[in-house]
């Protein structure tokens, strides 16, 4: 009798667990379907997109713009800067990564110094330049060093400091836009520009 009852209750237990199991499945299944439906209707959010922030741009290329840079008379052309009808200053050149003056450069500067002393009303700007190798920002500093060593030598030769200014253009204004050794040699330079009063 006991055995019969136990078997009965075990069977009932099994039935009970099966019912619970099926119930669980259907609940979870229902939930999935429910959420998928939600996804479709409740999911879409809406946003108004404000326009691109205002950027005041320059007019398109091709329009005439006033020249802002001070007028420079007597700029270096092919290594020579005329400062009057008869007098000229000559560009000097440097070795790669160097700012010290080579013997030929010093010879040229001795000539330039004589011209500047004789024309002592003329003010010039010594421009230091680099070739395109190396980074642009470091080349700005290197160009300045070249202009500075030129300036110091001219001063030592007797040129008045109020006749001289220095500037560096780094690699941004090559004499020769080529990419060969020959072009690079022409670009590592200090050249002279006459500044208007």
């Amino acid at each position: 009798m006991r055995r019969f009852f136990m078997r009965t209750s075990s069977l009932k237990c099994v039935l009970l667990w099966t019912m619970i199991f099926l119930l669980a499945i259907s609940i979870v299944g229902c939930k999935k379907k429910q959420i998928r439906g939600e996804e479709e209707t409740g999911m879409m959010t809406e946003e108004a997109i404000p326009g691109e922030p205002v950027v005041e741009a320059e007019p398109a290329a091709g329009e005439e713009l006033p020249v802002v840079e001070r007028k420079l008379i007597g700029t270096a052309v092919a290594g020579k800067t005329w400062i009057s009808d008869t007098a000229a200053l000559y560009t000097i050149y440097f070795d790669f990564d160097k700012s010290d003056l080579k013997p030929e450069a010093k010879k040229t500067l001795r000539q330039n110094a004589a011209v500047l002393i004789e024309n002592n009303n003329v003010k010039v700007r010594v421009e230091g330049h680099c070739d395109e190798r190396g980074t642009e920002e470091y080349n700005l500093a290197l160009g300045e060093r070249r202009a500075l060593s030129t300036y110091k030598y001219l001063k030592a030769l007797g040129v008045k400091s109020d006749q001289l200014m220095i500037i560096s253009y780094g690699e941004s204004r090559p004499e020769d836009p080529g990419h060969s050794e020959a072009a690079w040699n022409k670009n590592r330079r200090a050249q002279f520009t006459v500044i208007s009063q």
Binding site: E47, G51, P53, E58, E137, Y138
Partner: protein, 463 residues
Amino acid sequence: MIGLSSSCRSKRKKSRLFLFSIIIFLIGGLFTPSPSYSKVYIDINAPELHRFPISVQDFQNLGSGKSVGSKDAGEDIGAAIGKILRNDFEISGLFYVLDPLVYLEEPGDAGIKIGQFDFEDWTLIGTEALVKGGYEIYGKNGQNLLLEARLFDVFQMKLIYGVRYKGRTSDLRLMAHKLADTIIEKLAGQKGIFQTKIAFISPGKKFNDLYIMDIDGHNVARIISNNSVNIFPSWAPRGDGILFTSYSSGDPEIYLRWLRNRTPVQLTNKNGLDYGAVWNPQRNAIAFAASFEGNSEIYRINFNKPEKLTRLTRNWSIDIMPSWSPDGKKIAFVSDRSGNPQIYTMNHDGTGVKRLTYHGKYNTSPSWSPAGDKIAFVTQERNNNLNIYAIDPDGTNLMQLTGGPGDEERPTWSPDGRILAFSSSIDGKKAIYILQFKGNKAPIRISPPDLPASQPSWSPYLK
């Protein structure tokens, strides 16, 4: 409820307890949300990045067909959106973007909502995520655009994200980039960078103009053009302006170009060179190099009092090219105090100078990453080629990032710290490229093909 004999009593108690706990568990299960949008599809912190396969179908015209212009113009919009999204996902480095040529579903054959298309068409080609969408042009002269987009999890066959944008048709690219950024955020947990911009210069024969552009090279806008040399742009920390160096008053000086105002503000006015200005992320200091005291040193000014300079370096050598750490406490810079240019770091007040680079004879252009864990810079190799490298701020983990012919310069980080932009010069042709910091894909050119471009600076997040 169930009749049990006394012999089952102990079993019954246990069963009841067990039954009770199961029921509680099931009831609890009813109320827990299904594992949905918190799933991380792309782990951006994984050391090896697995590219996540994604498909983007061209968007469909949902409108009544009454749009401005011809039917062709309408089709162009849907294809344009698809193209922008696919290109953005490709550039981001996170995805393997499936080519539309391999899509099984013909365009126009199916809709964009669940139930309107067959997921199997997409699982078969191996895509894990799918972007579908539509657009509608409306309003006077077709000036308004509605974009509807859906991002699907193809394996689980469900919608991850859906959104509608309403804006102007002329802002189409902006809307597509915003969508790309948001999809990237949903899948990777970090917002994309496609609404940011890159400032750069276009070198001319004698003069340089300053520009900004979108990350994909579109929307190029010229913002400084003054018949002068304009160089070294760098963004203000809120993305509302750009610092740059200009020769327009004779000497190189520092200027600030607010984006909303065509007239730049001059910040320095000293003899000698003033250049390479960078604004700290805390927005209270601008560092730059100036040579008015005899040789190039690094100085700091506050934007609201630019006439008061604080000198940071004291050295007979060239000290230039500052770059702020993201917490504003340190500055990386270049000095040739050892005899040739190398990278150093110092505290923001100039104390604690430490040399960082020891390899080679020429290391310049430091750029500190947004997370503060890396400094990218440029090395000049023995054959004079310039290449991008990276190093940890403590001087360890030196990595070479570019190689081969051509010169790479001026690395600048995306605000999420995952991509570097830089200028590359091959045979004198200058263009701007980007490179994934993690992963070894080749650099991609982003500047427009017909415009020489160099000296990039990546904006902060703008939206």
